[in-house]
Every structure is written in structure tokens, then in C-alpha cells.
Symmetry: C2
Subunit: 412 residues, 2 copies
Amino acid sequence: MTHTAELVSTGAELLSGRSINTHARLLGERLGRLGITLTRDTTVQDDLASIQAALRDAATRVDTIFVSGGLGPTNDDVTRDAVADLLHRRVVMDTDSLNRLRERMIRAQRPMTPARERQALVVAGAHVWPNPVGAAPGERIQQDGKTYFLLPGPPPEFQAILDEHIVPYLAQTLGDTVALRERVLLVHGLGEGDIVHRFDQASFPPAGITTAYCAGAGRVEIRLHPATPETADALLDEAAEHVARMLGTAVYARERVELEELVARRFRERKQTLATAESCTGGLIGARLTALPGCSDFYVGGIIAYANEVKERMLRVPAALLQNEGAVSEAVARAMADGARAQAQSDYAVAVTGIAGPGGGTAEKPVGLVYLAVAGPDGTRAFRTIFPGNRETIREATCRAALRHLLDQPGM
Amino acid sequence: MTHTAELVSTGAELLSGRSINTHARLLGERLGRLGITLTRDTTVQDDLASIQAALRDAATRVDTIFVSGGLGPTNDDVTRDAVADLLHRRVVMDTDSLNRLRERMIRAQRPMTPARERQALVVAGAHVWPNPVGAAPGERIQQDGKTYFLLPGPPPEFQAILDEHIVPYLAQTLGDTVALRERVLLVHGLGEGDIVHRFDQASFPPAGITTAYCAGAGRVEIRLHPATPETADALLDEAAEHVARMLGTAVYARERVELEELVARRFRERKQTLATAESCTGGLIGARLTALPGCSDFYVGGIIAYANEVKERMLRVPAALLQNEGAVSEAVARAMADGARAQAQSDYAVAVTGIAGPGGGTAEKPVGLVYLAVAGPDGTRAFRTIFPGNRETIREATCRAALRHLLDQPGM
């Protein structure tokens, strides 16, 4: 049994360069866990005709249709009217939503305006779910064998209604018989092409297994799926083992997991602490680590040593070293890591210094040149890399490399 | 004359929760500058039938169609075949692309494989553009009055081909007569509903002007557009002035600009320096400032003081203060800002300490409670806020508030 769904995302801001559409990713991930495949996202501008055309088309292909955005108070919020009109229903005021909205405005000490009241309007006959973090409620409308889910456009509101109401509703409706069967391997140091080449040479995958790849952010995700419902779990396991043997140490995880989460697990297991010293990444490594709830049990903090004076003063990097070797050098990376470890009194410290560009590069030290160092109980190790790309990609790649080197430490 | 275009994004990873589709935002922004409106993005899975259906539909609505993804070396890269088959063309090996690919592999010291060679395949008759940062080239195919642009899926490659080849091509083709006319105002402290309410009361906008809103990340963007090509620029200017008068100090910018860029301008103008002390944001503020090229002319660095010991040792926050007031308190925020300013010897320092959750909240100090402090030559000011949302949104909102308070300093 294959379950499919489509998303219709509404909003001129998603097509004009103002906002990224994050709904498809979130919805695809949540539906995937339920064994439902999101087969299409149609992003349209917020006018009645475009929304209705997209909904009509979607209904020819699938039975479950999600619609995001256009439930707000302004005149370009027309989703509810579009859906109502399409389904020959009226738009009605939802008393419960209106009451919640009034309470919200009182708490926020803001006036209740006619524009705001529009957010309590719903399609007649809809099942209405309260919005835990915003004003516009979520709605479920069933008609002609189709189910329409209406969600507000702001990502936190979309997510809250999805997670608190729709996912539990779908899980209950579908039962737990449809869990998505897949095996995931994360690989670094090999391109998609390298992997395919090795697979081809080994006549992989075997019958009954299909492969899919997703390359990005310095790693390739390999996914193995059953080719048919008859494929046994044992065959999937065996295929995953085969991949692990073929690719060896390039496989760094057997599940979908972020690098920082792996770092966190390793440090927590060993009850060791970590500090950071960042120059070109300017806080990115710290920001990524502290995005993890409860990271304070291993991450103590660090120093953003952007100016040379800060490297000297806060990390005790000798001025002579900065002068003779330059701020972007192996010696300075080592001194930064040692300095951070000493200042923070942590078990480990990772330091990065590099040229993120666009300016500042020379023939000898080009844009993309990065030195990393990890200081730990067993001494300090340094690494030199040249990353391709622009300021953003170089900084991201540096951040990733720092986390990877933390995982590669001896004894870790 | 209205120019419109559509995007067809291909790739299972965009619908399965693995990747965010960033193409629509980038393309929409670039096309917008050229006066072209991106009217739809259809994201489909990477199978021949879905891609062709989306392309066929798009061609019924617009003459310019962008297609992203599916040009890589693996068996799920079928875009080129889908387009060729749809247009009754063959797929051919592009010699120039193949040569570039071979040179690339030699430089990267990787073997040239049959899978890799596939990336030099193009639709017969296509104009081929080299990929400055990756393997698969871009293609332009013209047929039956329609133009198809094929771009690789990885965002840096999509962007490089768009910016280096397609935007210049379109600019030349269209001439410079179509520049998008709009006025932008960025507003904080007011919701979309508040703004609409004030506009309604003032019978705004006047005839000839249309308004659009985009709310997100703690601000509302108001856009004013000509209702018809006849609307004069003077009327747009006048309407923008009217909005500025109506909303007063809530308007913090009259252009589309990020807060960190405004902070950078202010500090550069005054030749003053800035340091950061971050607890709950863990480096986000530093990361945002250092995303700006050349930020070293005002941003010296900072301290990520996650553990209390780091607050004491590196920021000289008195242990007694931490004990008596708690790490999340006005007194500690002030001490952190003062400490960072002293340690970094900067003109200003901004400090944040808060409870980002999900754990750690109490009735007295709930999740979302944040104290901010700005230390400067005129003393230290502190602010208390409770942000709604989850760990991610609280951290983002804190980062934003810190940047805003830096702009609000007396004498700045």
C-alpha cells in the first residue's frame, strides 16, 4: 500500500526571493516517518486563481493535500476563500478560535482589530485545530474522498500545528503498519560519482533493493529501499552491511544524524568537555553545538578571536607568532587550540583560522585556506585544507571539518 | 509588459525531508531584479513521468521555464533525458564539457568513471554553459517559442550558473527597460495585523499603489508596487513617505537589508569597535556578524560563555553574582557586557543570557526569558524579554534583539 500526498505552498514571498519555503522539507520528513510519500510541492502566488488551479491539479493525483499559508489577517491572505470557493462551501467565524484570539491579544496588550478577527474565519464544516504559537488555526476538510489540511505559513506555526495535531491524527488514522523501511549510510570523502562507480563494479545493489543518493554539505547520504513490499528486512540489512564493507571508514554514520550530534554523543559518553576558538567561522561552530538542547554537559564555551589582538589577549597567542607566521598558519591554529583549552580548562579544544574571502587571499595563502587544530590530553594535532566556494560555503565547510576532526581524535 | 517564468525543481531529497529547496528563493530574487515574476515552483520527484508532466503543465502557462537538478552522475539523475524526450531531441555528449570534466578529475586526483562522464551529456541543440564550481554544465534550449534553462541541483552550482551565465543572458535579452519598481519598508515591533489596521484607518494605499507584506523573523516587510505601468515613481515615493510617517520609529529601514548590515554600517561610520558575549545564543551573533565580508573593521570577536566557569574566568563575572542572581539575570547580563568590553578593549559590547529551552525553565524564569545588555562609552543598558517559540526561534529572536539594541544606543 503506497500513501502519497501533495503540498500546495502559497505566498508571493516564497517566489520573490524573500523567504525560503521550508514547509516541503518539514512535511516530507514527518510524512516519511508515517510511510507517506510527499510526491509534489506546488508553490504558487497568493491569488485565488493560482491556488485553486494548483488544488484542482493536486486532487487529480492524490487524496491528501496540504495547503500552507494565506490564513493571516491581510488582504493577500486568500487561501481560506480559495478552498471554500473550490469546495462550494462558505467561510464562517469559528467562535473558539475567535475567543482564543481575543485572549491572545489581551495577553499581548494589542488591540483586537477587524483585520485580526479574519484569522478566526474557517471553511464551513472544517475540523479546527488551535494554533499553539500563533493566531490562525489549522483546518481539516474532507470532501469527495479527498482530505485537505490547511496550515498557516509562518514556519513555527506550520510546524506546531503539524506536530501537535496533524501527525498524531495521521498516525492514528493510518495505524502503525506503514513505517517507512529504509537503511541510511552517511559518507564523507567520496563523491556521489565515486560511490556509484564502486557500486557498479560490485554489481550493487542486488535484486530487491533500490538506491538513492543525496549529496550536500560535504557528505553523501546513501539510502537503500525495498524495491517491492516483498523485500525482506534481512535483505535490507545485508545490503547495508555490504555498502559499509565496500566504503570502509568513509562511512561515518548508519543513521540520519548531524555531525554535532555525533560529537555530543562521543563527549557525553566519555564525560569530557570541549571548548572552541574560532576565527574565520566567527561563532558558527559554537552556534551549531549549542543548537543541541542540553549541550552544556560537554560544551563549556569558547572564544571568537576575530581580531589579532583578541587572539593575543584572550587566547595567549604570542604576538611574535602572529607577526612571523601570520594569523592564518598552522602555528597560530595550534596556539589558539592550546590557548582555548587552557583558558576554558576543558579536556579538548578545537581551533580554526582561515581566509573565508572574498578578499584577503594571496598566491601563497589563497581564499579557502584553513588551518584547524585540536588540542587534547594527548597533545595537539593540526590540519591544513583549501576549501572551494564562497565565503558562506568555506565557513560551513570549515565548521564541518572541525566537527569531523573532533570525532577522529585518538582515544575518542 | 509582464514577464513571467516558472521553476520545476526535481529531486526526491526536496520532498523527503532531506534538503530544503533554496532555488525558488534565489531564482525569484534574481528574476525580480530583472522585472520577471517567478509565478510558480513545482517540486517533483526525480522520475521521468513526474518531471515531464510538470514541464508540460508549465509550458501551458509561461514561455520561460527553469529546471533544477537531476544532471548528476547517478541513475536517479534523469532530467536531461526527460527534457530531451519531451522535446523529441536526442541526448548527446558535449565535447567541451567532457574535456573540462577530465581536467577537473585530474586536478582533484580522482578517476574518470563512466558514471562521471554522464555529466557531460546534454540535450541536442542546447546552448551549453560551463559550470564554474561543479561538473554538470547549464543548458538553454529553445523550442516552440519556449525557453528551457537546465541547472544542476547543488545550490552553489545552481547559483554560479544562474549568476555567471543566465542573469547576464536575460539582462541582455530583455534590455534594461523592465527594472522592477517597488518601495520597501522594514518594520519591527508591529504585527502585520497592526499595520493593516492603521492603513485601513488612513485609507491607505491610494489609487495607483498596491501593498504586499511579508512577516517573518521578527519583522514585517512592507512593499509598495505600482498598480499599473502608468503609476509614476513620484506617487510611489509619496506613498512610502506616508507609510514612514504613519509608522514612525517602527520603520527601521527603507530598503531590503539585514540587521547585521545596518549594525556594520553604523559602527563603520563611527569607526567604533564591537565585541560579543553570548550564552544562550552560543555564537550565533558572532556568526551573523562575521558572515559579512570585511567585518574585521569593526567586529573584534567575543566570548561564548556557555558554562558558568567560563563566564567567571573569561568575562570576570563575579561568582557571587552568578550564585545569588543566577546566570540568567539582568546583573549577569550587565557583567558579561562589561567583561567583554574590558577583555576585548572594544568601544561597545553586547551580551545575552537566557533560557532557550526546551529544559531549564521555571515559573519564575520561564523558557524564552532573555536578558540583554549593551556596554558602551556612555554606560551599560540592560533589557529583559520573553520570547515565544522553541529553542531555535528563541535563539534567533535573541540574536535579532541584540543587533536591534546595538542600533538603538544613544549617540549611535
